[in-house]
């Protein structure tokens, strides 16, 4: 059985089976915004915290202090933001990041309805670090937060990189008796640093859950 044979057989079977055509509706749905809706930033912070993330609203010059943490100096750090220094030696093998303590990256976009941030990269090390690091810090500008996933897809280009992900909270599982366990295979902590707009900087701390 050749590959071509299978392809043609399946496509032929699909054509023979096709039910009467249904037209394609528009993908976008205007969100029904209720009055008294919280601000996008408030909604984003609430959703991200519900997903288990810590959310900090801060100024850009506070990123380093907040990312490294007050009481610990992580040894193995990989960072894509200028404010935090990478300490792990350069490598092209993602396996080398197994003992990564901290990964810090910028995100171009946050989603208010679900607290997710978009992280996309062509760099094999950055991609692996997002999942191998014990602690992940994502920096996102408050001005880039959009209401829904419809708005998000209108702004991102999923084809720009081989990898792109919405990330909402640290990795988790509830596979044993529906008990929530934070830190399944990937990061045990996710901190989202939101760079505040006017009047919102100054490490306004949203406490964790």
């Amino acid at each position: 059985m050749s590959e071509l044979g299978a392809r043609e057989t399946i496509l032929h079977a699909v054509r023979a089976a096709r039910p009467p055509a249904v037209s394609l509706p528009a993908p976008r749905i205007a969100p029904a915004l209720a009055s008294g809706q919280p601000s996008l930033l408030d909604a984003f912070a609430a959703a991200a915290m519900a997903a288990g993330a810590a959310v900090v609203i801060a100024a850009r010059d506070e990123v380093s202090r907040l990312a490294l943490g007050a009481d610990l100096t992580p040894r193995n750090v990989l960072s894509t933001v200028a404010e935090v220094r990478t300490t792990v030696p350069p490598s092209q093998d993602p396996h080398a990041l197994d003992s990564l303590d901290l990964f810090v990256a910028d995100s171009p976009l946050g989603v208010a309805e679900n607290g997710a941030v978009w992280v996309a990269t062509s760099d094999v090390m950055h991609r692996a670090a997002l999942f191998l690091a014990t602690r992940v810090v994502i920096v996102v500008d408050a001005a880039t937060i959009v209401p829904t996933l419809h708005d998000a897809y209108a702004r991102i280009d999923v084809r720009a990189h081989p990898f792109g992900a919405f990330v909402a909270g640290p990795s988790k599982t509830a596979d044993i008796e529906q008990s929530l366990v934070i830190g399944a295979h990937g990061p045990k902590e996710l901190t989202v640093i939101v760079i505040g707009t006017n009047g919102e900087s100054g490490a306004q701390q949203a406490s964790r859950r």
Partner: protein, 472 residues
């Protein structure tokens, strides 16, 4: 617990699935049945809260349904478009007519790469194809990396739910399994501790893997990419580390546009677990540098289902599992009682098409209450499809003999007024003498746990004659 060993769907003539019998065995442990019921209902309630938080929920469902219907009624075009764009993105595309062809393709890719250790993330398609036993027989180590799937894999069981594979197990049972296979202390059953051990165990497997296999939640024709949703990050660790990535997908998973993802992703996690979105919603649009990425498009009965005028709508399914969580039968009989890869209402409409005789009992594993249809994010008319399958099962003569006899007898009685009256008199007499026996005779399994009301002294017809003498 019944231990369901893996079976190859291609071997021999398997015995028919007897759902009522399997459900009866499950129900023998009343406390456990209640616990299972409540666990699933808890998830259903989380789904309700998540759905209620989105004012445009019903509009999203209608839109999702229409997009899927459009995609399925133009499926050949979108498959060709997906293939062309995936190739342009640097992926290799394979086509498999059935489970056996899929398994051989996967094994071929692994052999060519010299891969001996495969780490998988959740893929109901590969369960359906019996991939694990096939590869193991060919000397490949296969590790399911989703925690629930790893638990059932260690126990040599199949998943009992498509989203929560180990929902049928208590933490003590998971603890015992880990004690046996992963060397945890005897009696350790605290979920955090067990998950921590699994994390260490599976991290080693991720780092050592020669290849990884994932499913796809959505394949996007327009962009030639695909989306994989997980909470654990297991699919991502596999994809980010292994030099070979195989992504297996049923042909019905293709959607037209990137923007359609918003519609489906807003529905998927909310319907599945009540989360606004899964932790990781990963978009793959090509292999990472130095990696080989293979896509396997699998038919395995899907074109047959597409050709069924009454049932093609079942292919809209996005595998959220909401129909299982809400189903009063699933909650009280457990996923293994269905004897099919996909259990619950959606499994009971997808599976009979594969082998009507073998799965004849599944369309009857429903009260036809329609709760599944009410929660389905893509508006599959599950209760109607279940009802239609019952008619096909009956026409093909696959109903149990006692049931066929009872129905035929009823028809004969209802057709003959005099005989009906005589039978009624006999039944009233019999019920007074031996109520339990008659009840069991008349109602089958229903009578087993129910009392019959006292027999009336006269028939309705006689009562009407006496009390409404002025009317004909």
């Amino acid at each position: 617990m019944s231990q369901r060993s893996f079976e190859l769907p291609v071997l021999g003539r398997p015995t028919p699935v007897d759902h009522p019998k399997a459900a009866r065995e499950f129900n023998a442990d009343v406390a456990r049945t209640d616990w299972h019921d409540e666990s699933l209902w808890f998830v259903r309630e989380k789904r309700d809260r998540a759905a209620a938080s989105v004012p445009e929920w019903e509009e999203l469902r209608a839109r999702a349904s229409a997009i899927k219907e459009h995609a399925l009624t133009h499926l050949d075009e979108y498959l060709v478009q997906f293939e062309a764009n995936a190739l342009a993105n640097g992926m290799q595309v394979h086509w498999a007519r059935d489970a056996d062809e899929h398994n051989r393709i996967v094994h071929g890719i692994l052999s060519e790469a010299g891969a001996r250790r495969l780490v998988k993330s959740k893929s109901m398609l590969t369960e359906e194809c019996g991939l694990n036993p096939y590869l193991e027989a060919n000397g490949i180590e296969v590790i399911d990396s989703d925690l629930g799937e790893r638990i059932v894999q260690l126990r040599r069981e199949g998943p009992s739910h498509i989203v929560m594979p180990a929902i049928h197990l208590k933490k003590e049972e998971v603890g015992a399994t880990f004690h046996e296979h992963l060397g945890t202390p005897e009696g350790l059953s605290e979920p955090n501790a067990l998950a921590g051990v699994a994390r260490e165990h599976l991290r080693e497997k991720f780092l050592a893997a020669d290849a990884t296999l994932t499913g796809m939640n959505f394949a996007v024709a327009e962009s030639g990419g695909f989306v994989v949703c997980t909470n654990e990050g297991n699919a991502d660790l596999g994809m980010a580390l292994a030099p070979v990535h195989i992504a297996s997908v049923g042909i019905e998973k293709v959607i037209p546009r990137v923007e359609d993802l918003a519609v489906f992703l807003r529905l998927l996690a909310r319907s599945a677990t009540g989360q606004a979105v899964t932790v990781y919603t990963t978009h793959v649009h090509g292999p990472r540098a130095g990696q080989a990425l293979h896509v396997v498009l699998v038919d395995n009965g899907r074109t047959k289902q597409l050709a069924r005028e009454e049932f093609w709508g079942s292919l809209k399914c996005i595998r959220c599992g909401a129909c299982m969580n809400t189903c009063p039968i699933y909650r009280r009989s457990g996923g293994h009682s269905y004897g099919s890869t996909v259990p619950g209402p959606i499994g009971s409409v997808l599976t009979p098409g594969l082998d009507l005789e073998r799965y004849a009992s599944l369309p009857f594993a429903s009260t036809l209450c329609g709760s599944c249809t009410a929660v389905c994010p893509v508006k599959i008319d599950l209760d109607r499809q279940l009802f239609r399958w019952r008619q096909h099962v009956t026409e093909a003569g696959h109903t149990p003999r006692a049931k066929t006899f009872a129905i035929k007898t009823s028809v004969a009685l209802f057709d003959r007024p005099r005989l009906f009256r005589a039978a009624g008199a006999l039944a009233r007499f019999g019920l007074r003498l031996m109520p339990g026996f008659i009840a069991r005779m008349a109602s089958g399994p229903w009578g087993r746990t129910r009392d019959v009301p006292p027999a009336p002294s006269q028939s309705f017809r006689a009562w009407y004659r006496t009390n409404r003498p002025e009317r004909p």
